[in-house]
Amino acid sequence: MEEFAALIDALVYTRSRNEKLRLIAEYLRATPDPDRGWALAALSDGLDFPAVKSSTIRILLKDRVDPVLWTLSRDFVGDTAETASLLWPTPDTPPAPPSVSETVELLSAMNRKTVLEELPKLLDRLDSSGRYALLKLATGGMRIGVSSRLAKTAFAQAFDVRVDQVEEYWHGLAPPYAELFAWAAEGADPPDIDNLPTFRPFMLAHPLEETVVDLKDYAAEWKWDGIRVQLVRAGQGQNAETRLFSRSGDDISATFPELLEVLPMNAVLDGELLVRGSTQGGEAGGAASFNALQQRLGRKTVSKKMLAEYPAFVRLYDALLLEGEDLRELPWTERRGRLEALAPRLPASHFDISSIVEAADFEHLAEIREGSREDAIEGLMLKRKDSPYIAGRRVGYWYKWKRDPLLVDCVLMYAQRGSGKRSSFFSDYTFGCWDGDPDKGADLLPVGKAYSGFTDEELKKIDRHVRQNTINRFGPVRETEKTLVFEVAFDSVHESKRHKSGLAMRFPRIHRIRWDKPPHEADRIESLRALIAD
């Protein structure tokens, strides 16, 4: 546990993404199984120990420290786990510290009754850094500026394997990821996930910007305004199971139960999740606005009424796997052919295929795109006809060509309390773009501030996000974990000396909250700079 605690401390004080990667990778290489697997789980998705709550820690401490002194200390430090780690009396002769796996084992064995006796024994075996690491591990969120993606990237870096492969196997495995370490570190066969309904990393598009493509080589599709999803069905007979994943790989199956029983064959399909309606693309388009879809997002259970009022369906873009065959190496044209051939076997109630936009040439396509404004479609996608399906964003294969207003994806950095009616909410947001490749150590630089463009419901949700993800307090301002992506709309962007990024947006407003989008996929400063009008 000492090494893990030292790693957590080092990560707390490290800003550079590269350095964080190096620290985690070094730990993963140097630490034996299964300790490193548990540590990786804690750093990425977090571990869940239902018996240990923040309130448990408060109860334990109030038994050992005067309640007034506890409250004063907690208020000053600002974090329950840290305050407790500092105030816990170290015994004169502490017993030997536990390993990470012993810690996990003991924590898992605790229940509501035993926790008040067992957790103190564990705390007695650690010094203040160890206690901090233990309490953070036990209560879930580490909140030390390490995303799940970063932890996986560090794993890939540690053992010189590809991060998209790690992603692919990850979703089929459970902590402490023995098979994953055996494969990456020991050279064993890769984990077998073919019969599991696991997430496969998405292929993503670059913004088109000034590029002009030849329509001989590229096909155009609408960029529908829903959320990108992956529908996966795997397993045989009784054991077949369907799951729905968001862009970040989160399992959102429970939110859309109507899609879990309708896929008749094993497949991994890429598409846009939409709600039936007529806003997007008129009657023919058959999709409601993003707002309608938003009514369905983020729910753990769904009422019959919701299902009837906002029926969801998937508009398919691509097929990755089909009835045991991996199509990802095939050119887009062939995959498209297979998808079209599949269409008659899919129930029209829940599926259709995103149509190809026919245009004589690029200029003609530009006209069509301009017209898409009335249809409330986000814009166009351009896909190279010979492109394989590759995880991540590759230059030259896929482009997104959004229509105006100018939109960029930014990451929430700071939130400030509003005024008047909103004074109890964190309603003013400062967001930033990456100053380089976020997977290679880039940092976020603030590019603007906005306090409009969301509903009261959304405000409540963001406010909750801010409170649960605060990493720093400066008076009325909170610095948050850099995890939430905003699609920010703005009229124009100009050079400015006021911001460190050198850019200032005119009339920025929150266009959409991208709960589904991982922060490293937000835009870079250079993309924003490319939008400078003069």
């Binding site: 004080y13 005067d66 002194l69 000053f76 840290e82």
Partner: protein, 334 residues
Amino acid sequence: MAAPFSWIKPEPHGIYVEPADCWIDPSRPVDKALVTHGHADHARGGHGETIATPETLAIMDLRYNTREGAVPVEYGETIRLKGGVDATYVPAGHVLGSAQILLEHAGERVVVTGDYKRREDPTCPPFEVVPCDIFITEATFGLPVFCHPPIEEEMAKLLDRLAAHPDRCVLVGAYALGKAQRVIAELRRAGHHQPIYLHGAMEKMCRLYEEHGVDLGELRLVADHSKDDMRGHIVVCPPSALNDRWSRRLPDPITAMASGWMRIRQRARQRNVELPLVISDHADWGELTRTIREVDAHENWITHGREDALLRWCQLHQRRARALALVGYDDEDD
């Protein structure tokens, strides 16, 4: 006869000693000031007469050119003020020249600590416990979460990090008066005899320490050297320069900060500190409570920091205490 201790009056701008018509550490100019030590929140320019240790007077002279009206008092020396008040200056162990002031009048004894610590410090004589009726103590780190580790541990952390990165430098943010010199002296004590590089703002104060007999080893100015010269070395700067453009002239610095606040992770993160060094010239919670016990005064007056928690401790331990609301003090000289 006047009520007991009515001659000593805590006012918002300092402690007023009525019969002597003088102030202790006043935060605005007065005719006669008794100054505990040279930190800016205690020592201000512009007083008619300033009574302090020779070291404190030298520091004030360096900072404010206040040679006029300077009245030196050595440690252990008692001077008689107007109205039958005696003032004795006693080491406080905080920084060079720092003193507690013992005031005696009509058989009553009051000690004003100024800032103090109980740890060993190669740059100043140690704190002495002075029995008294009223003990006026600081409380900068007056919360039980504050426990400054042994300084040897923090020096080892610093030297380990330096050794691990021979191509970089470690930039240590430390207050220009006291902390910087203590860190340098402790590095020497830990066996680090390499030259140490200084931000220009540190130079004069380091020279002043040396003139007062504190050996700081070989010091060099950053401005006189190239990036390459400083690889593998320690650079000391004021905290304000840590994240400043100035640091761009350094070879890929690892940012460290020497301060008691570094005990709290968020405080270190706020300053973008990569290597927090928990080093303070103030008493931590254990030292504060131990000192209150050892001095065992009839009453404790608490100023200048987190009074609430120390007040609560006194209450829990059946000790009389009150908090004084003094203004103009800050915790920046930690």
